[in-house]
Amino acid sequence: MTSAGRGGAERVDAERLAALPPLPADEDGPVFEAPWQAQAFALAVRLSEIGYFTWKEWAGTLADELAAAEARGEPDDGSRYYHHWVAALERLVVDRRLSSSAALDDCREAWADAYRHTPHGQPVELGRAD
């Protein structure tokens, strides 16, 4: 489990992408509908590069999440692919004790609060002092 180089990655190679449940993509690679999707994509890529989990484990967790969604009767049209991606990421992060559900929930609430209380045009930041 060596750490990937400090520079991070070039585009994720085709082999790793092919190991995933088919993700929204065109001939030139993954496509994203919103920035949060790309951010979630990058998180999974980076965490596996560093070695917190293997890419194979990641692909398996994501596949489980997609299968669970299908079992719940959600449409399998790819529209919620990255929702499941995020759910899988949260699950793996908690499973590996990188964080806890409670910590993630608290942090999400803190972000929502930060948005609610930050005036337009100002950077939204998490409060630290309080």
Partner: protein, 255 residues
Amino acid sequence: MDESEGRPVDRRGFIKDAAVGAAAFAAPGKLMADQTESHDHSHGHDHDHDHDHQDVPPDIALRVRALESVLVEKGMVTSAALDVIVDTYENRIGPRNGAEVVAKAWVDPAYRERLLADGTAAIGELGHLGGQGEHMKVVENTPEVHNLVVCTLCSCYPWPTLGLPPAWYKSSAYRARAVIEPRTVLSEFGLDVPEDVEVRVWDSTAEIRYLVLPERPAGTEDMSQEELAGIVSRDSMIGVARVEAPAGGPSGGDQ
């Protein structure tokens, strides 16, 4: 599958080379933006403006933010490393939307007029506005005026039109220096703006975002709207590049 392939990478330099240091925000005095009092605050984020808060992003986006914040805080990942990955996909959302808008404005004078008068509505005509309700203002480059877009305080960016913001756009160096020394910044992007051309810097906010309508290059008179859309770069719509006619273009001429 092996998680351990280390693949160090040389990223393109861009303005990132200059991104070290230059932390201070610019005094916004020179900005052309119709900015309101909101950008005049220089103090912290601890006051409540209940009438004036920002829209809370969708829950799913907050969950991603939470994941990132928690992991960054624990030192497990760095935002910079994530940016590097995202950056390689920066053209992978909505990349052609803005180009389509520009190309249409070039070939359709009535559309151009509507676009400059009410960017939000005209871009909406093409179905490219996101659900965030931000207002789009389109600013036109001319032989006399060159426009440059920045968000000095954060990284407001019209992503439904331009895709993911490039990392340099989010860098504190670009955000500060685009205002203080726009000509220098532009020349670092390889764009030398003649002294007699006015440079206008537009500061995006949460409620208003800017799109540059670049000049249509000479030698493209015979190109179709679709072909034109193919030569409009994202950078030209931020204002850090010109649109160039394709080398050995249709006419082969050099007017």
